[in-house]
């Protein structure tokens, strides 16, 4: 099979891929192609018909499709090439991208490959929830697609496990469509989603949120008939004797997102066990030369604005890489103290300013995140409160760095 040469192949036409494409084009990279498996561009935003998108970036309240449309319109206006209904089957470490569509198989040979495949939802099976396996146990995104894209109503009496943002948004959506959302259960002692969603999606509709609770049994042979809910202790283990039965015909799971890195692994990209995304340097380059990643395939974001902004930074680096064939080496590793979940990027060059994205592992009040090199603070940010649901950004000015020794990110309270 002959391969077609391209400067840049972007895998995935969601917000990260679209933002990267537009910025690459603006930077003068014209020989690029967005490869999208769906019938339209936009990624997961197509089904996110609620508002709240774009506050940081556009200072406007947009729905998901509106947000996507801003970028799609740019892609169309600039005539940036894309293919739809085309699924990438494999990426190699020498940047060959093989895809399939109704037209057949095609292989592109790219100078740079941009991984923007997004993430998938953690499932019941991945969580290992015990019980029977009736119909009507859905992940939140699947229920959202059924309702918003396929005009199909999934149930009437609903329990939601997990206080992730999509779960809370679905609590509101289902309520608005006439379903009775009986409860949202969260195993942790604090919510997983954003505070604004607790207000606007649960409290406004009097939907109770039970923290430190989880589902310990699922009932129903054909269709879901109910669940058993238990309180959990500090070690997140169910406390015997606290079981409570709920009747319901639908269970929605909002229990986490997993970056979808099967293609990345095939290309030899090493993942960071903490993010389950690639380990990248400040150029968003993975361990495989010329393969870059941004957006939810890299680490799960709290807001789409940060996805598109991150993808634009990636695009700047990719443009430079395509022009010059290389990028400054990033030998300064970033380690984290136990309170910090992870950082992205995981290494920097020390030759330019960077902004670290990170999350704390549990809620903190009145603290500061500090980046330390050999005892000296080289970047910090003060926070009134820090919660795992919200990403924290910490700028590091390169002039502050004195050596090429590793950095450690710490939390000071």
């Amino acid at each position: 099979m002959n391969s077609i040469k391209k400067e840049v192949i972007i895998i995935g036409g969601g917000p990260a891929g679209l933002a990267a494409a537009v910025r690459l084009y603006e930077q003068g990279v014209r020989d690029l192609l967005i490869v999208e498996r769906e019938k339209t561009l936009g990624g997961i935003l197509r089904q996110c018909i609620h508002d709240g998108f774009g506050l940081t970036r556009f200072k406007e309240v947009l729905s998901g499709p509106e947000y996507a449309q801003r970028f799609i319109a740019e892609v169309e206006r600039l005539n940036i090439p894309y293919v739809l209904d085309t699924t990438v089957l494999a990426v190699t470490s020498d940047r060959q991208v093989t895809a399939v569509s109704r037209n057949g198989l095609v292989t592109w040979e790219a100078k740079a490959v941009v991984l923007t495949m997004g993430c998938r939802e953690r499932t019941r099976g991945a969580l290992g929830i015990p019980g029977e396996r009736p119909a009507s146990v859905f992940t939140a995104g699947v229920a959202q697609a059924y309702i918003n894209l396929y005009n199909t109503m999934v149930g009437k009496n609903v329990i939601i496990l997990g206080s992730g943002d999509i779960g809370m948004i679905m609590a509101r959506r289902l309520t608005l469509e006439g379903a009775n959302v009986k409860a949202v259960l969260e195993i942790l002692p604090y919510p997983s989603g954003l505070p604004r969603n607790i207000e606007q999606c649960l409290n406004d509709y009097h939907i109770p949120l039970y923290l430190s609770h989880t589902i310990t049994d699922i009932h129903g042979r054909s269709l879901l008939t109910g669940v058993t809910v238990s309180r959990v202790d500090e070690r997140l283990q169910p406390i015997p004797g606290t079981e409570k039965a709920y009747e319901c015909d639908t269970l929605i799971l909002s229990v986490g997102l997993i970056p979808e890195n099967e293609l990345s692994l095939g290309a030899g990209v090493e993942l960071d066990a903490r993010t389950r995304g690639a380990s990248v340097d400040e150029h968003y380059q993975t361990g495989v030369a010329g393969v870059f990643a941004a957006g939810n395939v890299l680490h799960v974001h709290d807001s789409v604005d940060f996805v598109s902004l991150e993808a634009e930074k990636l695009a700047d680096a990719v443009a430079r890489y395509v022009r010059t064939g290389s990028l400054p080496k990033c030998d300064i590793k970033i380690t984290t103290s136990p309170e910090i979940g992870y950082t992205v990027p995981q290494s920097i060059s020390g030759t330019q300013d960077v902004q670290l994205s990170l999350r704390v592992k549990r809620p903190f009040r009145n603290c500061s995140v500090e980046v330390v090199q050999e005892g000296a603070t080289v970047g910090s940010v003060k926070l009134k409160k820090a919660v795992p649901a919200e990403m924290v950004k910490v700028p590091i000015a390169w002039q502050q760095l004195r050596t090429t020794r590793d950095l450690e990110v710490r939390l000071q309270c």
Binding site: M1, R37, D85, T87, L89, T98, V100, S101, R102, N103, G104, L105, R120, E121, T123, R124, G125, A126, L127, G128, P130, G131, E132, R133, P134, A135, S136, T139, G141, V142, A145, Y146, I147, L149, Y150, N151, T152, M153, V154, G155, K156, E177, T216, D217, I218, H219, R221, S222, L223, D249, E262
Partner: protein, 487 residues
């Protein structure tokens, strides 16, 4: 008016489907009554998917005889039915002196049973064969293999169907009336059927059917096993099934928690072994999942919760005699119940032994009835060509001939629209979501349908002109949707 048959088979598990296929070699009007909406919904679809060697069954037993016959012929069967089968071999791994003696005993029994090639392998050899496995030595059975139980049962049933057998799903037998001429009327939840012969292969329901045809006294106990399925990522660490040394229990030989690769590269951990009275409860317990991970990790320390993709359980219908001893397969034609063949206690190794069991059942019938061969019988069946299993050149050819092969519906398992469409229009007329799943593997991957299930539900609706409320997940009453969001 009741439909008239020469033979009605009750139960479309792997054995019932095999019987229907073997009966189709003769000029007979054959029907299969199944209470579920597809084949393979009971024990047949809920096991380890291992084609067994035959070394743990009592010498001279039907289990031993049928199992060895089954394992030896399986290459031919897989070829005829166009199903994937891998003769992977299998090991029973031991550590103690007692284990060693037990394995030597197992080899001795196996040899008498007719197993081929059983041998002890020592630590070094074991390590070379299976670097990811922990143990001092093992018994190796080169003939053992793995199969997809869904594909196998579906293939048998489809082959029976194209050779003339009728399948009736959603037809649960409510009662059976024997007529004066010793023929039968079977009353089901969806109508009546007249038949001369009844073959009871109802698996977990076999005692109930047995009593309906006038043979009482059997007692079933459920041997329930919970399983965990692991991601294909770890599949390369397990090229063949790995078992501990079997232990004798009052429930018969328990094979212990083992690890089995699937045809598609996943790893199955299980089963547990609980005796249960409820033969319909398929729930998996937290305690059992924890036990599985812990006990299997001793043999194969690569079980991480982050690789879990699903769990399931199966129940095997074992029958106990008056002394509560686990007994052999029953395949019988009793004079007290003329024109019936009664199958009881077809548990493991029922998957391996399905065709041998079927042939014995058909033989009993042939000894009592003049049968004429069906000259049009074709033992060969073609399955759905799977895109993911093809070379790039073949993939390109498939798409050129049918562009639907270029449209990936299931992202994880790379199942194309062409395959989904063939599955939706399957020869047996099954129209559930799980029917598509078992025929194509769509929704079986690590995202468990997160990407494709909406598309598949939509394709079912469009292709079969179903109302939104008519899409079923697996069973009656498992309607996926309560209606439209907006009219």
């Amino acid at each position: 008016m009741a439909s008239k048959y020469d033979v009605l088979v009750i139960g479309a598990g792997v054995v019932g489907s095999a019987i229907a296929r073997e009966l189709a070699r003769y000029e007979l009007k054959i029907g299969v009554l199944e209470k579920n909406l597809d084949v393979c919904y009971g024990t047949s679809g809920r096991n380890s998917g291992v084609i067994h060697g035959g070394f743990v069954y009592d010498i001279g037993s039907r289990k031993a005889e049928c199992c060895v016959e089954g394992v030896l012929e399986f290459d031919k069967v897989a070829k005829e039915l166009d199903i994937p089968f891998k003769r992977t071999g299998k090991v029973l791994v031991g550590n103690t002196e007692e284990d060693y003696k037990n394995l030597e005993k197992t080899i001795a029994i196996g040899k008498i049973n007719g197993c081929i090639g059983l041998e002890m392998v020592h630590k070094q050899q074991l390590h070379e064969m299976l670097p990811a496995v922990v143990g001092e030595f093992a018994m190796f059975s080169p003939m053992s293999g793995i199969v997809d139980p869904f594909q196998y049962t579906i293939a048998l049933a489809e082959n029976a169907k194209v050779n003339g057998a009728d399948f009736y799903f959603n037809h649960e037998v409510a009662s059976i009336r024997r007529q004066n001429d010793n023929t039968y009327t079977i009353i089901t939840t969806l109508g009546e059927f007249d038949t001369k012969w009844i073959i009871n292969s109802a698996g977990l329901g076999a005692v109930k059917i047995s009593e309906m045809i006038g043979i009482s006294g059997y007692k079933l106990v459920g041997k329930k096993g919970d399983y965990i399925i692991l991601d294909q990522k770890v599949g390369h660490l397990l090229p063949m099934p790995v078992y501990p040394v079997p232990i004798n229990t009052d429930m018969g030989v328990h094979m212990g928690t083992h690890l089995t690769p699937t045809i598609d590269g996943n790893v199955i951990v299980g089963p547990t072994g609980d005796a249960v009275d409820d033969l319909h409860y398929y729930g998996v317990s937290q305690g059992n999942m924890d036990y599985l991970a812990e006990s299997a990790s001793i043999l194969w320390p690569h079980i991480h919760k982050s690789d879990y993709i699903r769990n399931y359980s199966g129940i095997m219908p074992a029958w106990l005699n008056g002394e509560n001893e686990m007994k052999d397969f029953i395949i019988e034609a009793r004079t007290q119940a003329p024109h019936t063949i009664n199958l009881i206690g077809i548990e493991s190794p029922g998957l391996t032994a399905a065709l041998p069991v079927a042939r014995r059942a058909v033989k009993l019938l042939a000894e009592r009835e003049t049968l004429r061969p069906n000259n049009r019988f074709d033992p060969n069946r073609k399955g759905i060509v799977r895109f993911a299993a093809q070379s790039d050149a073949e993939k390109a050819r498939l798409i050129a001939a049918n562009p639907d092969y270029g449209e990936i519906v299931c992202r994880c398992e790379k199942v194309t629209k062409a395959e989904i469409l063939q599955a939706v229009h399957n020869p047996l007329g099954v129209d559930t979501m799980t029917g598509i799943k078992y025929r194509t593997r769509a929704m079986m991957g690590r995202c468990q349908g997160g990407y494709c299930q909406m598309r598949i539900a939509q394709i079912i609706r469009e292709e079969l002109c179903k109302d939104v409320t008519e899409v079923l997940y697996a069973r009656n009453g498992s309607n996926l949707f309560v209606g439209k969001v907006r009219e």
